[in-house]
């Protein structure tokens, strides 16, 4: 099939019935990214944006798009990578990050669990009596991304979550009955604590498949590997279900996200804590006396 401009299509956008050539496709991805930012006011002139990068497709595409947006918009851009200490995975993805930052001339900072907390994720998972690797990794990574981006002077922390990631989380929370998590992720964030750097997700309306194709067309080298600790079985099931639905009923993922977005202000109002205090051990924002990260670290120290 041909694109409406007459060139051969490289992609069929099933949910809108459009056949797109290379040029129209890459423009459409940039437009979606730009519109998400504009409509939700995610970036303002003069912002200092720290982009969390993992070496995977999502974060490197995000870095490229942000870099491209800088031509139209005046803001600062820095890349931040977190080395969790996952042998055979993260050590192999870091060269992709270095290359992308060098190509785009973006400053890169790398922080590690080992340096910051004293243990690699591989070491943490060697203890007896532990929870899942993703629980430690999620808590530590969120904490370190926030703290490091704040120290780098960030006004926003940009993350590469795509439409598939977002729609999976919405459905997972719903199926698990995890109501308290609703209202945490959305198009905007209330500034609950001066030590929290607001997180923005400019790719949340772009399907994962389009991100892979965009990376290929723009010659963005990325790591194809999947984290060895990853796929939680539950997320895998939800992902398969959403993919089957999307195949039968194109637009399912987007509709799910948009429905959630409509409900988000109510959830956010209802579920956001009134007050966030500070962890007595590390001084980072926390809803209880000690933050989750410090609780986990304490447990690891006792069991390592």
């Amino acid at each position: 099939m041909n694109c409406k401009c007459g060139h051969k299509a490289v992609y069929f956008k099933r949910y809108s019935g459009q056949h797109l050539c290379e040029r129209c496709f890459t423009r459409a991805v940039f437009k979606k990214f730009k519109d998400t930012i504009r409509v939700n006011g995610l970036i303002e002139r003069g912002d200092a944006i720290v982009c969390g990068v993992s070496g995977g497709k999502d974060s490197l595409v995000l870095l490229h798009l942000l870099h491209q947006l800088q031509e139209k918009f005046n803001f600062n851009l820095i890349a931040l990578a977190i080395d969790e200490g996952i042998k055979g995975y993260r050590d192999e993805s870091i060269p992709f990050i270095r290359k992308a930052c060098k190509d785009l001339d973006v400053d890169l900072y790398i922080d590690s669990f080992k340096e910051k907390y004293g243990y690699t994720l591989d070491e943490i998972t060697s203890i007896k009596d532990r929870v899942g690797a993703c629980s430690y990794c999620g808590v530590f990574r969120r904490n370190l991304l926030n703290q490091s981006s704040r120290e780098l002077g960030a006004t926003k922390l940009a993350l590469g979550h795509n439409l598939d990631d977002e729609s999976q989380v919405i459905l997972m929370n719903l199926l698990r009955g995890d109501f308290s998590r609703f209202g945490r992720t959305g198009t905007y964030y209330k500034n609950l604590h001066p030590k929290f750097v607001p997180r923005i997700k400019p790719l949340r309306e772009i399907p994962e498949k389009e991100i892979v194709l965009y990376a290929y067309l723009m010659n963005i080298d990325f790591d194809f590997e999947e984290c060895p600790y990853a796929p939680e079985a539950f997320r895998g099931d939800v992902r398969n279900f959403l993919n089957e639905m999307e195949e039968k009923r194109p637009g399912t993922k987007y509709t799910l996200l948009k429905t959630y977005d409509k409900m988000f202000p109510t959830f956010n109002e209802m579920l956001t804590p009134e007050h966030i205090s500070t962890c007595e051990t590390c001084g980072e924002p926390s809803i209880s006396t000690f933050c989750k990260k410090c609780e986990m670290l304490d447990h690891i120290k006792k069991n390592y």
Binding site: V10, Y11, G56, K57, V212, Y216, P231, R239, E247
Partner: protein, 65 residues
């Protein structure tokens, strides 16, 4: 024969196939939602016909995490 390169699995194989990409993908344990297909170095839509002498690269949609 169609030459197929699976980038995630780092595998190459020759497959006897003539037809649309969307009908080939399930044989490779992929679907239109989980693969981006490059035919003779150009990305193609799922209705693209493939046959003798074509070379396909299969890029997995899911990675990272």
């Amino acid at each position: 024969m169609v030459k197929v390169k699976l980038l995630r699995e780092k595998k190459e194989m020759d497959i006897q196939f003539i037809g649309k990409i969307k009908d080939l993908l399930p044989q490779l344990s992929y679907s239109i939602e989980t693969a981006v297909v490059i035919k003779n170095d150009v990305p193609v839509e799922e209705d693209e016909e493939v046959g003798d002498g074509d070379e396909l690269k299969i890029l997995p949609v899911v990675s990272g995490g």
